[in-house]
Structures are given as C-alpha cells and as structure tokens.
C-alpha cells in the first residue's frame, strides 16, 4: 500500500486510518480469492508503520481514572474496599476504577492489541504488565510519555530500576511491584537444603521438580547457573539452557512446567522443589502457618521481574493516571501496599515507612531486599520481536513435549 503522510488532526487522522483498515480487509478478501500476488502487495503494508498519536487529554473535565491490574495486587479490607485507593480519591477528587483485568500478559495483550495498534482507548488509563511486555508496548509506541511535573515522586524510584534497557530514565513506565524467581524446597520432606540449581538434579528429587512456564524466569535461572549474564546473553546461551531444560524433562527430573498453578503441586507435594516466584511462597507459608517452603536465591543468581505502570496511547486521562502513579510513589502509601501484597516494592523510603508499620515486615528480604539480596538477582534483557517469536516458539516446543 502507498505510504502517504497522515493528516495532523487526530480525528481526521483516525478516520483515514479506519478507511485504510477497511481497504485492507476488502483487499484481504480479494487476496483470499485470487491468490498470492495480492497478498504480497498487502504484505508491503505491514501494520505499525505510522507513528501513533496520543489521545487528547480530557483529565480536567473528567476526574476519573481506570486502572487495570492483576488479582490480589492492591491492599483490600474485609469489605472489599481498597483503603489506599479510597484515600487517593479523597485527596485528589479523582474517582478511581480499579479493574482486575490482567490474568496473563499474553492473553491481556491479545485482547487489547488491535485497539492499541489503531491508537484507540482500551478502557484503561493505567495498566500494570510485566516489564518484558511493557518493553514490547514501548517499542511499538503504544504508551504515552509521562509529564514529570505531575509525578514529583518519580524521584523515589529505586536506583536499580531507574534505567532499564527499554526505557532509560523511566520516561513512560514506572514499576508497580516486583518479585524474584529462585528456588524453593519443601523443608518437611527435603532434609538436605537446596541451594543451587545443580541440587535440583539430585536423585532424591528426581521426578519431583516443577519449573515455571514463564520463559524468562526458568531460562533466566538456568542460564545464570551456566555462568551466563542474563542481562546480555546470546541466542547460543539461550539454546544451551533450553537444551538442559529439555534434557532434564526427558530424563524425568523435571516433572512439570507450569504457570501460577505450580503452587498446587507444591501443596499436594507432587513437587518437592523447583524454580518458582518469591511472592507465592510468602503466601503459601502464611497459609501453612510456618515456613514450610523455603525460598532460596540460587548461588548462581535468580531473576528479578517487575510489573510496571504505563499509560496506553489511547487513554484520554493521562494526567489523572500520572496523579495515580504519583500517589503510589509516596513512600508511606507504598509501604501500606507492600504490607498487604508481599511483593518487592520499588519506592525509596518505603522501607523506613514499613519499619513504622511492622519491623518484621521491613526486614523481609522478599519485600524489602537489601543491596546484598539485590546483588544476587538480575533482570532478563529485553528481546527484539524476532527473538521473542523465536525463543518463545522454542520454549513452547519443550512445554508441548
């Protein structure tokens, strides 16, 4: 398709984009009917060529903000209210709709990507997704850049998270909560502690290991154990680690590769050890009433992931979203959230505030990691689209057996 410049006016621009989209679908039908030649010409107009334009901000006239987030990720009282969010509304006059819409990065992405590609409103003004997905959105120009005047607390983001490779300086994303992937073992049934990835392949644990179906965490831990720096690994490093995972599956060491439901395997004791997420283990131990499952960062290093705020390109309430983000970057508020969600908080000063709430909580390394703990984890580097496609397909190949 010919690449004409789009008009500046956002409304006309959108109309033109719509018209072009309609044109594509008519031609697409022809392509289906008449074969590859037309399809090839269509291939020339791969989507995502035009830069998207942010929606006009109507925050002043519409004091609401819609926030899409994961389940059990915000403080909640017995009545189902979110105290910190209610306080935000009281302080700013902005009504916040908290939407528990995100259950999985991939399926949320699949749900909203078509609207985002057209620059339309997806019904959320602030979205928290995992960093690798955030990086994908930023690459495609699907996020709006922050106006830092509205986020004075931006300065509170912890130094280690200030300059990720996909968004140096955090101009259009800010971490919400984070966590580690590392090792776990059942301290009732496993007498000898598991401290390294090599311990997972002990004969007494054969067939009783579960690892995460989240590629970046399992492969991150595996690559680290092979001496690879996961902040700058190569495709060979990736495939070496994947080969080891595959061999461990084939040889019967790894029993299963799963998402969130791995915790059921730990509870039913089908799995006695594995590669898991820190926050879940905190919750499992709370339910058990004692530290039945021991979470360990392997001596070769674990991974550190963050679910991260961003403002989608089509959101017309960016200022409100920024005020919301600013609110949660207040150390006192962040400490209140941390006390409830049990994940790593990315806000400087929250530790000091947490000491006031509960000193034991503040010392929990899985919530307020000190420099020593943080030195044991690293962040999986961003992948290009091509790498993401290729690695994910290879990893799914192992998952599907």
């Amino acid at each position: 398709m010919n690449k004409q410049n789009l008009p500046e006016d956002p409304i006309i621009r959108e109309l033109v984009q719509h018209a072009r989209a309609a044109q594509i679908s008519r031609r697409a039908l022809l392509g289906g009917a008449f074969g590859g030649a037309i399809a090839l010409s269509l291939a020339a107009c791969a989507p995502g060529e035009q830069a998207l334009v942010a929606a006009e901000d109507i925050s002043d006239s519409d004091p609401t903000v819609n926030w899409a987030n994961w389940p059990l990720y915000l403080d909640e009282d017995d009545a189902g209210n979110h105290p910190t969010l209610d306080a935000f509304t009281a302080a700013t006059g902005i009504t916040a709709n908290y939407l528990v819409d995100v259950d999985d990065n991939n399926s949320y992405f699949a749900k909203v990507k078509d609207q985002l590609a057209l620059g339309q409103d997806i019904g959320a003004d602030a979205v928290c997704l995992t960093e690798w997905m955030v990086s994908r959105w930023i690459r495609r120009g699907w996020t709006q850049e922050f106006n830092l005047d509205n986020i004075p607390n931006h300065a509170n983001v912890v130094d280690t998270l200030l300059n990720p490779d996909f968004d140096p300086g955090r101009m259009s994303s800010l971490p919400w909560q984070g966590g580690f992937a590392g090792l776990v073992y059942n301290s009732d049934l496993v007498t000898e502690p598991v401290v390294s990835v090599a311990d997972l392949w002990r004969e007494d644990l054969k067939g009783r290991i579960v690892v995460l179906s989240e590629m970046r965490d399992t492969l991150g831990v595996m690559m680290s154990s092979q001496g690879v720096d996961i902040t700058k690994f190569t495709a060979d490093d990736f495939y070496n680690a994947l080969d080891e995972v595959e061999a461990r599956v084939t040889d019967g060491y790894i029993r299963n590769i799963k998402g969130n439901s791995y915790s059921e395997d730990l509870v039913s004791e089908d799995a006695l050890a594995g590669i898991v997420w820190s926050g879940d283990i905190t919750v499992l131990n709370l339910e058990a009433g004692y530290e039945k499952w021991k979470f360990v960062l392997p001596d070769s290093g674990g991974t550190f992931w963050n679910d991260t705020f961003m403002v989608p390109i089509g959101s017309p309430r960016k200022t409100n979203a920024e005020k919301l983000i600013n609110w949660y970057y207040d150390p006192a508020i962040a400490a209140q959230v941390a006390a409830w969600v049990n994940y790593v908080t990315p806000v400087n000063g929250a530790y000091e505030e947490a000491i006031k709430i509960d000193p034991a909580l503040a010392e929990n390394q899985l919530i307020f990691p000190n420099a020593d703990t943080l030195s044991q984890v690293s962040i999986f580097r961003s992948l290009s689209d091509a790498e993401e496609n290729e690695f994910q397909a290879a990893f799914q190949g192992v998952l599907l057996g």
């Binding site: 289906g32 495609r140 049934l189 299963n256 190949g397």
Partner: protein
Amino acid sequence: MSLTAFSHGPSGVSAEPAAQKKSRIVWFLLLPGLVYLVLFFITPLISLVITALKEAPPGAFIGEYVTALRWENYSEVLSLYGEHSIRSFVYAAAATLIALAIGYPLAYFIGVRLRPYPLWQSLALVLVIAPFFISFLLRTVAWKQLLADEGFIVGTMKAWSILPPDTHITGTAVSVIFGLAYNFIPFMTLPLYSSIERLDLRLLEASNDLYAGAFTSFRKITLPLTMPGIISGTLLTFIPAAGDYVNASANFLGSTSTTMIGNVIESNFLVLQNYPHAASMSLILMSAILVLVSAYVFKSGTDDLL
C-alpha cells in the same frame, strides 16, 4: 399471518396454499436457529479457514498476520504436531473403551435389573448425573490431589508393591486417560441407558428357550439391539475427548509429555499468538474427527440409528 395459517388444517379445501403457508411458518420458526447457526457456526468457521491460510509479513510484530494463501501452515503443523495428533486420538480411543467398559454394565444394571424398581432406577440415574452438580474443573483438580505422590491412593499402592517406589501417576498418560474416561462416563452411560432401557426382555427369554447360552444371547440379541446406544455413547465420548485440553493440560492431570491437540491449539493461540497455526490445527482436528466418525458410522451401518 400465523393465525390464518393455523386456521387451515392439512385437510383444508385448498391444499396447496395451505402447504405453502405452512412451509413459510416452518422457515419462520427455523429462523432463530438458522441465524444462530450462521452467526455462531458458519461465520467463525469461515474466519477459521481464512485465518489458517494467513502469513506473517516480513518484520511483523507478534500476532500480526495478513491474508494470504499460505498452505505451508498445514504441512508445518502436521510435522510439528503430528505426534500430538496421534496421541490425542489414542488417548481418546482408550478413554472411550474404558468408559464403555464401565458404562455398559452400569447402564445394563440400571436399565434391566432395576426395571422392576422405578424409584431405585430414577435414583441411580440421578447418581449418574450427580457429578455434573460440581464443575468438572474442580473434580479434575480433586483427582489431581487424590492421585498425588504423597496421597493415600499412591501411598497405598506403593506400600502393597502394586506401584514401584519411584513411580508416580499424575502427569502421566495413565492419569490423563483416567481423567478423560472419568469425565465422560456419564456421556457414555446415558445414551446406553436409553437404548438398554427399551430392550425387550422377552427376546432374551426366547433365546434362552432356544438353548442359547448367556454369551450367545448377549452377542445375538442384547448387543445388536443396544447398538444405537453404543454408537451414540462412543461418539459423545470420543469427539469431545479427542479435542479435550483440560485433562491433558499440565495444570490438571497431564505434563509436558501428555499434551494433546487441544493444548497445542491453546498454546499457539494464547501464548505464541500464532493464529494461522492454531486455526489450521483446529481444522485438521475437525476434519480428522469427521473422517473417523463417518467411517465408524458407515462401518457400523447405523445411518438409521442416528
């Protein structure tokens, strides 16, 4: 219109206009069903066929495809997932046989032995359906717990040396086939019951009088007369079992070594966002089932039974 149409019976004087009106009413009454079919079956099917031939343009983002005629999608999924397809049909066939072996005696007991006691018969039928009162996801998760390594069942079997000490059940083909059979037993039992319940016992008496043994009576009389139930029961079990993705999923009774076609489609659709592969795999599954089922129906000569 409908009122005047109803006022003319089939015995009306002007037979032809009445028949025409009647057929119009038939179409009118069929309309909701037809609209439903077009909207929710034909349209998605066409979309599926188109999606199955799409291709990713060079440098496309994940999940972005354009319409094309990329037949390689089919050969690719067949070479990638041929093993999974065969596994699906083997699992589904095994589960169907197990469900038949359990469902037939059960249906026979309810339909024949309990025939003199209608109250017990109804009660037994309610018990067959009773599992449906709980979500099948929950029941499958429950089996996962029951069959767990440290659970009572596996522990006992190991203690009695039925199972070698280092083996397990969950995450193996055994647990997946078991789960499939378990979940589909009611679908097998109910059609079997409805045909066994109509079995004329006097025929069995007659065969007995003619010196047929129990086995011969079963083979020559009971089996042929209850064939419709067997056919519909096996179809109702086999078709959904072949496409099932819950039991074989790593989150339930399966593991990476037990994945079936349903899991492949799920992973391609939701994780890899490789819609053309997911769509072509779905179409292959549909056609394979169609071919297998038609061959089966044709072979058993049961056109009139369905």
